[in-house]
Every structure is written in C-alpha cells, then in structure tokens.
C-alpha cells in the first residue's frame, strides 16, 4: 500500500501548487521554429527581440516563448493554448506559421498576432519582414572589390523569392564594381544543416571561390572559410567568433526596435494590422562592424553605399537591369517595385545556372 500513499502524496502536491497569475498589463508570446540556440541564428535573433521587449517595459509586460515548434498543426495547437492561457499578443516568427496564425487569429479576435515574412493579414494579424537584400548590396560591393579569383561562392537555402532576391542583389552590387565577377551558387535545401553547409562551402572553395556568402543559418561555412583561408559574410547574427579573420561583416537581423514599438502600440491601444518591410534605414537589417581585413577605401565605399541605401538615394535594384534570358526588366533609372521583389522568381542577366524547380 506504500504506492497508494505515495500517489496520494503526489496528488497533494498537485493540489497545493496552483499557478499564480501575475497582474501584468500585456502578456506577449513568441513561437520559434528551431531551438533558440546559444549565440547565432534566426531564432536567437528573434529571442533577442523578446528580451528587448522585457527590458523596455519591465513589469507591465510579461513574455513567454515556445521553441522548436514544427510548422503546421503543432504551431496551431501551441498558439491556441497560448491564447487560451491569456496571452494578448503572439509573435509567430517563421514563414510556415502563416496558415496556423490565420486559423488561430480567426478564433481569437481579441488577440493580436504578428507574423514574420508572411503575406496573409487580418484585422488582428500584422506582418513584418526585413529588406535583407539591402544588406546584400553592401556585402556584394565588398566582395566584388576584394575578390582575387573573381569568383563568389553563394550557399542558398530554398529557391524562394527571398533567397533569389538576395542573390540578385549581391550579384548586381558586385558586378557594378567588378565586371568579371562570377557567382557560383549551391542550393542546400535547408535553413540549418551544419554538415551540408560545410560541404557546400568546401565545394565552392574548391571551385575557386575566395568569398563565401550564405543564406543559411549555421556557422559551419564561416568555420570552413576560416580554416581554408578565404573570406566570408555572416548571416543573421555576428559570426566573428567562428571566423575571426574570415568574417568581413555580417548581415544582422535586428527585430528588437520593431518588437518594442509594436508591443508599445498594443499597450497604448494604437496597434493596427499593418505590413512592415523595413531595411537598413531603421536597422531591421543591419551590417555588423567591418573587419580590418577590408582595405580602408573599400570600407569607406561600403559605408557610403550603406548610408545611401538607408537614406533612400540608392535602391538595390536600379535599372538598366535585364533578366537572365536577356529581356528587359528595368529601364535605365527605373527602380524595382515591391510587388515584383516580393515574388521574384528569376535571376538577373549574368548569373549562370537555373533556379531549381
């Protein structure tokens, strides 16, 4: 009968522990598609934004998160339970959470949803994303000026508009300062797979690339670049730790200002469903400190280009630009409209190879 005694003891504890609800004004939940991780990556950067919200509003706001949430049915369940437990606002930080967000938002009209990188909105669903391609212009410029082999290696994740846009943007900026530039692109079909990314980096270096760009999340390519003595550009977070010599700069995802602003609007009642697509200007996409390996003149040019894009005097996609097949996309002086950029499914002229279908 010991076991019964033990069981009743356990159940006593259950009764004894009642979750205490704090009297905060706003409860904000975040869901991440991968584990937050230690130092770098997409989800880590979103969690930095969450921490910024905590710091900004102190006791007025309580935040929570669930990590490693698979896209699809699991995400829908997690968000529903968050809403049931009294969350007032939920940030869903991956593209694949889109349909689940729409479903849960329809069931909880009083909960505000913020969905990163999606295109579906409702009265209580706002969307936001960053113009990372603006940062890619800056790294494209640096790569074009610094490469000795005229070969840039590019590790691409999935053939979606976001990634294709980044390739085109980096290529155009590199081509503008180095007419002989060649891009070699490897598609790894993953956002995060250190082994695959390392293989891709090695292959690209074997093929003569002395600059590595990545549109994937791990630090593997940076590590390989450091080992093999070539240069590389970090993604999402500063990856200097993994390539002290190799990293020339990183494109940083900085969600903190946006998160603080949106939570502030929810607090004072001015929150509305909007679509935000910010770039270098407010620093949602930012460039980390330039490495001393970059020659002084190139550093200055890159900074000027950064400032010009941020101030709006230069657009990453300014004509004349032809598509890969030679047909005209933008006439001289014309700049790309957001609609075309958002659905970009073609390479610009000069890039070899096909987009995988």
């Amino acid at each position: 009968m010991k076991i019964i005694k033990f069981l009743s003891l356990i159940s006593l504890f259950f009764v004894g522990v009642m979750s205490s609800v704090q009297a905060t004004e706003l409860k904000v939940g975040f869901i991440y598609v991968n584990p937050v991780g230690e130092n770098t990556g997409w989800d880590y950067q979103h969690d930095q934004g969450r921490k910024a919200v905590e710091n900004a509003y102190g006791n007025k706001v309580e935040t929570s998160y669930v990590e490693a949430v698979p896209e699809g049915a699991d995400a829908e369940r997690v968000m529903t339970q968050m809403a049931l437990s009294g969350h007032d606002m939920i940030f869903a930080t991956s593209f694949g959470f889109m349909d689940p967000v729409m479903n849960v938002a329809a069931k909880f009209p009083n909960v505000k949803f913020e969905h990163a990188t999606g295109y579906k909105r409702a009265d209580n669903v706002a969307t936001y994303s960053a113009r990372f391609y603006e940062g890619r212009s800056v790294i494209g410029h640096i790569a074009g000026r610094m490469t000795k082999t005229n070969t840039i290696g590019y590790i691409a994740s999935y053939p979606i508009p976001e990634v294709i846009r980044g390739i085109n943007s980096a290529y155009l900026a590199a081509k503008a300062v180095n007419p002989n530039i060649k891009f070699k692109i490897v598609w790894v079909f993953t956002w995060f797979d250190p082994a695959k990314e390392a293989d891709a980096a090695s292959t690209l270096i074997d093929q003569g690339a002395d600059m590595i760009m990545q549109h994937t999340d791990s630090t593997a390519a940076m590590t390989i670049a450091e080992e093999r003595g070539v240069y590389a550009f970090g993604q999402a977070s500063d990856m200097k730790k993994f390539g002290p010599r190799a990293q020339l700069t990183s494109i940083i995802d900085d969600w903190a200002p946006y998160y603080v602003e949106r939570v502030g609007k929810a607090l004072d009642g001015t929150w509305k469903s909007e679509d935000t697509w910010d770039g270098l200007a407010p620093g949602m996409a930012a460039i980390s400190d330039f490495s001393n390996e970059i020659p002084e003149t190139v550093r200055k040019e890159a900074q000027d280009l950064h400032d010009a894009i941020a101030s709006g005097t230069v657009h990453s996609f300014t004509g004349p630009i032809n598509k890969q097949d030679g047909s005209t996309w933008l006439a001289a002086g014309e700049t790309a409209d957001d609609g075309t950029l958002l659905g970009m499914n073609f390479y610009v002229e000069g890039i070899d190879g096909d987009i995988p279908q």
Partner: protein, 365 residues
C-alpha cells in the same frame, strides 16, 4: 560484470504496474532536472501531466488535441510492432509517412477542382499504397539480396525528404502561392479534405482509423494464426522455417503492413491537421512511433496508451514551455527518461541481475 538470468516466476502484478512506476520515476528525476534548471518542479510536472487533461484553461481544447497528436503515432507504431515482433526492423516509417502524404496529395491535387465524394477514399487508398511501395524497397532488397533492412529503410527517409522538398517547390507547388514553396491547402478543397468530425475538437478520420486499427490488431495478434506466425518467426526463425513459413513472405508482409499504415497516417495528417504539402511537412512521427511501439511493449492496447502518454507529454511540454519557461531540450530529456525507465524497470522485473567476477562467460542459447 553483470549477468542477466530470466526470472522463473515473474510477478504479473509487477509487470502490469511497471509503466506506472516508470512514469513516477520520470516525474521524480524530471522534477530534479526542472529544479536544477531553477523551475518549480511540482508546477512543471503538474503543467505537463495534469493541466492538459484537467485544468479549466486548457483541458477542453487539449483533450481532443492529445487524440489528434497521438493518432499518427499509434497508427505507425501498430504497424511497426508487427515487424519488431518478427525481428524485422523497419526504421524508415518517417519516409513511408512522407510518401503516403506525397502520393495522396498528388492524386488529390491532380483532380482539383473536381468535386466527387470518392476522391477522399481514393486518396486514403493511394496514400496507403504509397507508404507500402516505399517500404517494399528495403523489404525486396532484404529478401532478394539479404541487405540490411535497418540501413536501407533509414536511408530511404532522407531520399523521401528530398522528394518532399522537390515536390514542394516544383510539381506540387501552389500556383496561387506567390512563388512560395508548398502546395494548395487541401482543407480548402472539400472533396479532398479530412474535416473535423466534431466541431472544435480537431478530431478527424485518422483518429477513428487509429482506434479501429488498435482493435483490429488486438484481434489479429491474439486470435488469428497470423499473430502466432509472427511471434514464431521472431522467437524461433528456424522452427518457423521447419513449420513451412517462408521468411521472404514474412519480411514482405511486415514491411507492407508497417509501410501502409505509415503512409495512411501521412495521408490523414496531410489532409487534416497539416492541410498542405510543405518542405517541413514531416515532424518526426515515424521516428517517435518507434519509441511508442516499445513503450507499448509491442502490444496493441499498450501502444494505444503509450501513444496517448507520448502525446500528453508533447502537449503538456508546450504548455510548460510558455507557462514556466522550460526549454524544449529539457522536455525532450524528460520524454527520453520515460522510455529509459520503462525499459530498465522492465529488464529488472523480467531478469535477475547478478554481479560476477570471472571474465569469461559462456552464453547458452
């Protein structure tokens, strides 16, 4: 050196309550883990095991959700258990799950936007066939060339994942999806959708099928000749061959059953909770089902409860993440403990442990 000798008189009561003891041990050691992480262990355990089932806030929603989360696990684990009993190791249910979903999505989307009541049943059949055919690759290779089915079935998972990625950005991509990967949402195509059977619960045909399959397998393994053949083949393959059982027949059959059920689970998941084919459509049901099969001791009723328990720890684990800030990795360790304690207590109940000094032990078969 530790020596294991089977106990002659195993306590039936002890065997029956082993899972409960394992859960208690998991609670204690999991509690210590949460305490070390600086969280209130009692509240954490309560959030994982109690709140999804009983709390006012969550239970109405979470109870049926546990069924929904458990149903693919149960369906796949049932199929796997048959093979495992016969010593045939299909580790690639994840790939068969993907293939079931892909084939049924292909059929459904090829017929879009035709409305016909037969489309959904047709998709169920095709999904099951898709899983079966994918599973037959390692089965045929094993029966004809004696390849290792563990390796081949596992490797085919990664091939299936590549096929899934390729289909999501290629042949099955939604033409109205602004260039983003992923197929049309089948929930918005009435003939192909797997709707909620009870409004608001999320319970779909997959749940019904998995419970029916539990009942069917219970009967099959207990009262039908097939159950005996499987057991005989696993425990004494030579005796089985003397009795006229062809090993190739058992291998092909076990893989067909497990692959078919995994494919069927993929089809129900696709048309129901997931809705669409996406690059990350598979979330590991095929692998978790291996744990469920063993947690349920390869017994249909046991698998039913093991699947529900596993689903409970998923749902409760999420709740404890956002209510208490417990990291996802700690929840996974917690789930791992559950299996570890069950298997180790099972071992102690069934075998006598003795410590011996001499280095050379002769094993009697």
């Amino acid at each position: 050196m530790i020596k294991l000798t089977p106990r002659n008189n195993q306590s039936k009561i002890l065997i029956a309550i082993t899972p409960i003891i394992a859960v208690l041990f998991t609670m204690i050691f999991g509690g210590i883990l949460f305490w070390v992480l600086g969280k209130n262990p009692f509240e954490a355990i309560k959030l994982i095991f109690w709140d999804p089932l009983m709390s006012e806030t969550f239970s109405d929603y979470a109870r049926p959700q546990i069924l929904v989360k458990a149903s693919p696990l149960i369906l796949i684990a049932l199929g796997l258990s048959v093979g495992f009993k016969a010593n045939i190791w299909n580790i690639g249910a994840e790939g068969q799950f993907i293939m079931g979903a892909l084939i049924s999505a292909g059929i459904g989307l090829a017929l879009y936007p035709m409305e016909n009541r037969l489309i959904f049943p047709l998709m169920v059949v095709c999904g099951t066939l898709g899983g079966t055919l994918w599973a037959l690759i390692p089965a045929i290779l094993k029966s004809r060339f004696n390849t290792n089915e563990i390796l081949v079935s596992l490797m085919l998972v990664y091939i299936a994942e590549q096929a899934l990625a390729s289909a999501s950005i290629g042949i099955l991509r939604n033409p109205e999806g602004s260039g983003f990967p992923g197929s049309r949402n089948l929930n918005q195509y009435p003939s192909a959708s797997n709707p909620e059977l009870i409004a608001g619960s999320g319970v779909h045909w997959g749940v019904v099928f998995s419970i029916l399959t539990v009942w069917f397998f219970h009967y099959l393994l207990k009262n039908h000749k097939f159950g005996f053949q499987i057991k005989l083949f696993g425990d004494a393959p030579r005796a089985a061959s003397f009795a006229g059982l062809k090993s190739n027949y058992i291998i092909l059959l076990c893989f067909s059953i497990s692959g078919g059920l995994a494919g069927m689970a993929g089809m129900f998941e696709l048309t129901g909770p997931a809705g669409a084919i996406t690059i990350d459509f598979n979330v590991g049901y095929g692998f978790t089902a291996i744990i469920v099969a063993f947690l349920g001791r390869l017994n249909p009723i046991g698998i039913l409860f093991a699947g529900l328990l596993m689903a409970l720890t998923y749902v409760g684990g999420e709740i404890s993440q956002f209510m208490l800030g417990i990291p996802a990795a700690a929840i996974q360790v917690f789930q791992g403990m559950l299996l570890f304690f069950l298997l180790s207590i099972d071992l102690i109940v069934k075998f006598q442990l003795s410590f011996i000094r001499n280095k050379h032990i002769s094993r009697k078969e």
